[in-house]
């Protein structure tokens, strides 16, 4: 089950009627995100790498309100006690293992299987990196790995480029969501091609989670305004001067962007239109 696709056109058509008193859909419930049958109240996902300390990670998770966090299997030992995994389970969040660091479909599939063993979950955020400097996804390898993992019964959430055709292919082969990038991982460059992100939202019928490139709160809000169903933030929070404060900012931004999206923005105009009618005003004469 996924939610109705909320295109700019349909949002405009629904207008006021469609948004039947969503005073605060993001905050007040009734606006949950469902991915592969799992319901999430928070539309913010958090990457757990790169935090200065585990204590700050725990505080940032609490401030973000997120319910789902990604973990790189290759960088953690699920069995180590007192480590990252304990912190995450104490925080009450669910884990989404990823295949970070994999460069071939073969490595990614093997890593996903290890993650299934280690974390007892079929969910996998699939990453297949094609270039060491930009960390951009390798499209053919990504498709190959996604196909195989879907066949194996995984719930696959692929990290992909902002190519609407590729996103469509991934959705078509059975991925539970698609996770297009705004810009390269850790670059903080925001959403470089908003048009493509909007197109992806139009063209796929599974949730779209904006992944990578978020630099600050307005980037996350823009993603939600473009129709993304959720945002994943990692470096933007973990490498901020104050990660806990930035986590709170991201939470507010995702909620604001979601509210604005569902509220239905006004069309852009070339010329002004007065917000207050000027008929019937008293003539005060020259002052």
């Amino acid at each position: 089950m996924h939610e109705t696709i909320d295109t700019p056109a349909s949002a405009a058509a629904n207008g006021v009627a469609g948004g039947s008193a969503p005073a605060s859909p993001a905050a007040a419930g009734g606006d949950e995100l469902t991915i592969a049958g799992r319901t999430l109240r928070s539309r913010l996902l958090l990457g757990t790498g790169g935090f200065p300390s585990l204590a700050l990670l725990a505080e940032a998770i609490a401030a973000s309100g997120c319910e789902l966090v990604t973990v790189a299997l290759r960088r953690v030992d699920p069995a180590a006690r007192g480590s990252l995994i304990d912190v995450l389970s104490d925080a009450g969040v669910e884990l989404l293992p990823n295949t970070a660091g994999c460069h071939t479909a073969r490595d990614a599939v093997l890593t996903a299987r290890l993650a299934r063993e280690a974390f007892a979950t079929d969910w996998i955020k699939l990453e297949v990196i094609g270039d060491e400097d930009t960390l951009l996804p390798d499209a053919p390898e990504l498709l190959r790995a996604a196909e195989q993992l879907v066949d194996d019964g995984f719930v696959v959430l692929p990290y992909t480029t902002d190519d609407p055709v590729l996103a469509r292919r991934l959705a078509d082969i059975g991925c539970a969501a698609v996770m297009p990038l705004g810009s390269p991982i850790g670059s903080g460059m925001g959403i470089r091609n908003p048009y493509n992100i909007a197109l992806i939202r139009e063209r796929v019928n599974v949730p779209v989670v904006l992944d990578a490139g978020i630099g600050t709160a307005s980037d996350a809000a823009l993603a939600m305004e473009l129709g993304c169903d959720a945002v994943l933030a990692a470096s933007a929070i973990s490498r901020a001067q104050d990660p806990v404060r930035m986590a709170a900012a991201m939470r507010a931004a995702v909620q604001a962007g979601r509210l604005a999206r569902t509220a239905g923005r006004i069309p852009r105009r070339l010329y002004a239109t007065a917000s207050t009618p000027d008929e019937g005003l008293p003539d005060l004469g020259p002052v």
Binding site: A55, E59, A62, G82, S83, A91, Q241, V244, A248
Partner: protein, 428 residues
């Protein structure tokens, strides 16, 4: 309280740099001291450490990091005198080098990040120098011409931890500290009320000199049976827990232990042409190079949440070499002497756990994470003062208080517990 015959005043669990420094200083104050080491003296994390005394280079954003910086600066100030005293006591060099440290940016992205770091250090009033590429390469001609910007921390020096360990061992032995190897402490023993430590139980060591592979492996749970009747009981007035990443293998500590192993891989390299390639410690995204006086270099280090894995892997070593060679092309010519894996004892907020815990008679001196060598003089001083019951600097002790990790205890000051993650006022 009378001691059982032959029982020392202080038992120190762990024969790494922290345990030995504590033992040496406590012995100097007239206490009788026995060090219990699960394997061989100085055979664990201390031996792998690079030995950077670099509080300024390692400064990070945030309140907790600020307190850790204060600890580091204080201990860095103590190092020259500590090295001097240790050298005279042991009659051997500890490899203290006034290297200074350079933080390097290789491209525009890294330069922007480094500018941010420079501004941050300026805001803290730390002594640093911003160097243009030509200035950096004048200082270190082996740097690649692609260096874009450098930050010099002129007071961040280095020691050779292996020489420090050897000197501490000699100093301890000649002062009359008992060093017992292959003596794994399996449990703290307490009085009937479980309020006060009375001593420790030492398990049977395996065959003497277990292989590094098996010996360093951190199993889940104690490697030895705490209830084995052949365990040996050792009484003591005071016990100091300085077992680093292995602290979790000691049973009977009242509170849950906030120390986890954080894996680091590094290489030890040697220049067949002798010293001269680098004279400063250089740090770059993804690693650092620490020069010794004799043409040896330490290239480190990964930081991995993988405590059970003590074998170096190709990817980790490759990445360290790749980054180092990009910054200092001459690294290509160095010989590889050793690949090492160390297990840093990490705590939730990266600061050490020093001081009394819930049990009377137990003093913590563990959880030093990346800073064990740097913080050794300060830790030894604090612990010795605690053992002798002296008045202590409250601010320092609060930063290091082992009870700050308590989950449910009312005695917990400003708990950083992940169980109670109530965010501090994060919105204005």
């Amino acid at each position: 309280m009378p001691n059982p015959a032959g029982a020392p005043d202080v038992l120190v669990i762990g024969g790494g740099v922290i345990g030995l420094a504590v033992a040496w200083r406590a012995r100097e104050r007239g206490m009788t001291v026995t060090v219990l080491e699960r394997e061989t003296i100085g055979g664990g994390t201390s031996r792998v450490a690079a030995g950077m005394l670099a509080p300024v280079a390692e400064a990070e954003f945030g309140e907790a990091a600020r307190r850790l910086l204060d600890l580091g600066l204080r201990s860095a100030d103590m190092w020259p005198a500590f090295a001097q005293e240790l050298q005279s006591a042991a009659g051997q060099d500890v490899g203290f080098l006034r290297t200074g440290t350079l933080l390097l940016a290789r491209d525009a992205d890294e330069a922007r990040e480094l500018e941010r770091q420079i501004a941050f250090r300026d805001s803290l009033g730390l002594t640093t120098n911003r160097l243009r590429p030509s200035q950096a390469r004048e200082r270190e001609p082996a740097l690649a011409p692609t260096v874009r910007l450098a930050l010099q921390a002129p007071d961040d020096h280095s020691v050779d931890p292996r020489l420090v360990l050897a000197a501490l061992r000699t100093a301890c032995e000649s002062a009359g500290v008992q060093l017992r190897e292959h003596a794994p402490v399996v449990r703290l023993e307490t009085d009937a009320a479980a309020k006060r430590v009375t001593g420790v139980s030492v398990g049977k060591s395996g065959e003497p000199g277990p292989t590094r592979d098996a010996g360093d492996r951190l199993e889940r749970g104690p490697a030895h049976d705490a209830d084995d009747s052949s365990n040996e009981f050792l009484a003591a007035e005071q016990v100091v827990l300085a077992a680093g990443a292995w602290s979790g293998q000691v049973e009977g500590i009242a509170e849950s232990l906030p120390v986890r192993p954080v894996r680091g891989q590094l290489l030890r390299l040697r220049d067949p042409a002798g010293p001269g390639l680098l004279s400063s410690v250089v740090r770059f995204a993804g690693g650092y190079l620490v020069p010794r006086a004799d043409g040896r270099y330490v290239l480190g280090a990964t930081v991995e949440e993988r405590g059970n894995d003590v074998q170096p892997d190709a990817g980790g070593i490759y990445e360290l070499l790749r980054e180092a060679i990009e910054v200092v092309p001459g690294v290509r010519e160095l010989k590889i002497e050793e690949l090492c894996v160390g297990l840093r004892p990490g705590t939730p907020d990266n600061a050490p756990a020093i001081g009394p815990g819930a049990l009377d008679g137990l003093t913590w001196a563990t959880g030093h994470h990346r800073n064990g060598i740097l913080l050794a003089p300060l830790t030894a001083q604090l612990v010795t003062q605690l053992l002798t019951g002296e008045q202590l600097d409250d601010a320092l002790l609060a930063t290091c208080d082992p009870r700050r990790f308590a989950v449910d205890s009312t005695s917990a000051p400003a708990a950083a517990s992940p169980d109670a993650p109530a965010p501090k006022a994060v919105l204005p």
